[in-house]
């Protein structure tokens, strides 16, 4: 890290940066109000699954917002970033009007800045550490909006820089799963000169970016541009391929693959195991979102059906729950209700998602927890019984533990329930690898620095290692794994 702080110091002392700081005085910078993101109007946007809510900043808005950044001597924002993006540098490039340079800076650290700018929980990461938040109790620089701006600008300008790729070294490596962890792994390995193939079980590439996050948050077209970039750099994608089933790891080794990165994700739905959970009309958020986001079941020309409800209850308080409940609204629900056992302030979802959900008319039933689903005569869910909760002492995560209020049970009429209480690592791939050391919760155990598993040629990252985490963490893992796998292979094969 000391090398990095040296670099940051040197860059900050560059002439253009010093000049830029002098153009506006700090006391004027801090008087600028944080930019307001233009958003699609709630009544309109709930009619469409694909209408992106945040419209993005204009170049003028971006430059103005970037000028709020005071280019701190000690940029604490970087500490908040899981992959230590050089935030001051890209923000200052934006202020200076060098948007493509800003995008290039982002790409040194993050494989998918257009994605992260949209889905990172900045309020818990970079923006939480911004000087404005920490020392002045004011709104932080809108680092997320700026990241998105730079990435979008580059994409829309048509001048996407395809990074330099080393000469091919003839060594084949495989990535399993095509979500953010594998994609960033692939992006680095291809640059190092490896022959990279990404294997995906589904018929679409992108993992949770496609099937999980709805298009009103992250348009599929954005993901596709990133995938095209990878293809242009030479990454191969194999769809409809379940490693371990379609071909075994041994088969792949026979085909010449020397090392593997497992990024197969946390695609195993968690249920509460309460009575009635197997009734028709009660499903996991994975099923619901996959039907809509992957299979386009909400569209009339798609063959895949999806159950629509007039009164939809979504259990959970994270981003997945927000995605599911807002999708249900877009699918025509009269009432879309979040049922969460803790308070509103303790919901782990991104603040922006909660705000957008409220604007869209989502109802929030906090301090309530389902204990049973009741059917109608046809076996379809018709009611949910909820236990009302109150907040007790804090638990290990530091949040106050929800405690049932004895005897306080309410029933509400619903016709669709989505269980969005979290996901677990999908056991399919690990089950095919004898000798792979796993935790008792189904995650693959790896060396935290190198992401190497108990099998030397097998590395892993993302949700399959962390349980359910974030896109940016998955990407960080993919990059770290690429760096260590490169070291491992360099030594083994004298590259």
């Amino acid at each position: 890290m000391t090398d990095y702080s040296e670099i940051l110091k040197q860059e900050r002392n560059a002439a253009w940066r010093a000049e830029l700081r002098n153009t506006v005085q700090n006391k004027d910078r801090i008087n600028i109000e944080r930019v307001h993101m233009t958003e699609a109007e709630p009544h309109e946007r709930i009619k469409s699954q694909t209408c992106e809510v945040n419209k993005g900043l204009t170049p003028d808005q971006a430059r103005r917002e970037a000028s709020r950044c005071m280019d701190c001597v000690n940029p604490t924002c970087i500490e908040g970033c899981p992959v230590s993006i050089n935030i001051p540098k890209f923000v200052k490039y934006i202020e200076a009007g060098h948007f493509l340079d800003a995008a290039a800076t982002l790409k040194e650290f993050s494989a998918l800045p257009a994605v992260c700018g949209r889905v990172c929980p900045q309020e818990k990461q970079c923006e939480a550490k911004c000087f404005y938040t920490q020392k002045m109790k004011k709104d932080p620089v809108a680092i997320g909006y700026l990241e998105r701006f730079a990435a979008d600008y580059e994409r829309e300008s048509g001048k996407i820089q395809v990074p330099k790729v080393e000469k091919r070294n003839g060594v084949k490596v495989a990535a399993i799963g095509s979500g953010p962890a594998s994609l960033s792994f692939a992006g680095d390995m291809i640059k190092f000169g490896y022959d990279v193939t990404v294997f995906e079980a589904l018929h679409e590439i992108g993992g949770v970016l496609k099937y999980g996050i709805p298009e009103f948050r992250l348009p599929n077209s954005i993901v596709d541009v990133e995938l095209d970039n990878l293809r242009q750099m030479g990454v191969n994608f194999e769809k409809n391929f379940v490693v371990g089933r379609t071909a075994s790891f041994e088969d792949l080794k026979e085909l010449g693959y020397k090392a593997f990165f497992i990024g197969s994700g946390a695609g195993l739905p968690n249920f509460m195991n309460i009575p009635g959970e197997n009734l028709n009309g009660v499903m996991s958020s994975n099923e619901y979102l996959t039907r809509v986001n992957l299979m386009y079941a909400n569209q009339s020309d798609s063959d895949t059906p999806v159950l629509r409800g007039k009164c939809v209850a979504v259990v959970g308080g994270g981003n997945t729950a927000m995605d599911a409940v807002r999708t249900s609204k877009r699918l025509g629900a009269e009432r879309s209700i979040i049922i969460y056992r803790r308070s509103r302030d303790e919901m782990p979802a991104r603040l922006e998602e909660i705000k957008h959900a409220e604007e869209e008319g989502i109802e929030f039933m906090n301090l309530a927890n389902p204990i049973e689903y009741l059917p109608n005569a046809e076996g379809r869910v018709a009611k949910v019984r909820l236990q009302r909760m109150k907040l007790g002492e804090p638990d290990a995560s530091g949040r106050r533990k929800p405690v049932p209020i004895d005897g306080d049970i309410v029933e509400i009429d619903i016709d669709l329930a989505i269980v969005a209480i979290g996901v677990s690592p999908n056991p399919l791939i690990p089950a095919c690898l004898a000798g792979l050391k796993m935790s008792k919760w189904g995650t693959i155990e790896v060396n935290e620095q190198t992401m190497q598993s108990s099998i030397p040629e097998v590395f892993a990252g993302g949700d399959i290692v962390r349980g359910g985490a974030t896109v940016i963490l998955a990407m960080g893992d993919g990059r770290r794994a690429a760096a260590s796998m490169h070291d491992y292979l360099k030594n083994r094969y004298n590259l």
Binding site: L202, F241, V242, T246, N278, T290, L307, G379, P427, L428
Partner: protein, 269 residues
């Protein structure tokens, strides 16, 4: 994209497809299934792998036209392409040598039963097979089944072929006349339910292969969940075969109806 190299009509609504899928042909075992899609707006549907040809790199699928998605597949011809095909999925059948196997296949369930019968026979068991269909025209794979069965009994609802009666009538006669060590029953869910009730009476260990609704087929969504021995299991990764006497068939039957309204509306389109 997987090419169809052969198409054959087995009965009014049932078709056999031989499809190029060299990697699946190599990795598949009896009991495995594939998930496929026809068209970019197609629905993902599961189909058991009936047979495979390693030399030619093909797999055989048998499908009954019962709705929009199966209809699209049945409308394809030799030389056409299946848009997406993935497999082999599901746990393979546990093939062993208990002695005498009673195999029960109802309707299009005879197709997934075939590779299991073949494998049990090759493992050295005595195999008695009961096949059932509504009528003679709907009976499939008789010749193929005879090749790997010591005896084949055929039951039809209307008596137009074999004997008149239900599959469970034919099966019970065999159970009464000789010792059966294990039973495999595959067919419509209601048939499997009653087959299970029958064999439970006689304490015969029984496996069935469930045909639940599926979306991804890799354990990701839970659409295919069933209750087995009081626990929730996913048909696509824990099954598709389960101990028949532990399955909550009533719940399974109810869950099969989950999209009935939506399917009816699609048919009207």
């Amino acid at each position: 994209m997987n090419k169809i190299v052969e198409k054959q009509r087995l009965s009014e609504l049932v078709f056999k497809f031989v499809v190029e899928a060299p990697m699946i042909a190599k990795s598949r075992k009896p009991g495995n299934f594939v998930i496929l899609r026809v068209g970019t707006k197609g629905e993902r549907i599961p189909l058991t792998i009936v047979d495979s040809d390693l030399e030619n790199g093909t797999i055989t699928l048998i499908v009954q036209n019962v709705g929009a998605s199966s209809g699209k597949l049945c409308a394809l011809e030799t030389g056409d392409y299946i848009t997406d095909l993935v497999g082999p999925l599901g746990k393979a059948t546990h093939i062993h040598k208990p002695g005498t196997i009673l195999a029960m296949g109802g309707g299009v369930g005879i197709a997934p039963l075939y590779p299991i019968v073949e494998a049990f026979k090759k493992a050295g068991n005595r195999v008695i097979t009961v096949l059932a269909a509504r009528n003679k025209d709907l009976l499939i794979l008789e010749k193929e089944m005879r090749e790997y069965s010591d005896e084949v009994i055929i039951m039809t609802d209307d008596g137009s072929y074999g004997r008149k009666g239900l599959i469970t009538d034919g099966a019970e006669e065999i159970i009464k006349r000789e010792k059966v060590d294990e039973c495999i029953a595959i067919g419509p869910a209601i048939m499997m339910k009653f087959a299970a009730l029958l064999t439970k009476k006689y304490n015969i260990p029984t496996q069935v292969s469930l045909n639940t609704i599926m979306v991804d087929g890799t354990g990701m969504c839970g659409a295919c969940r069933v209750t087995v021995n009081g626990e929730t299991k996913f048909t696509c990764v824990d099954g598709p075969e389960f101990n028949a006497h532990q399955i909550d068939f009533d719940e399974m039957l109810q869950r099969l109806r989950a999209y009935k309204n939506e399917e009816d509306q699609a048919r009207k389109k």
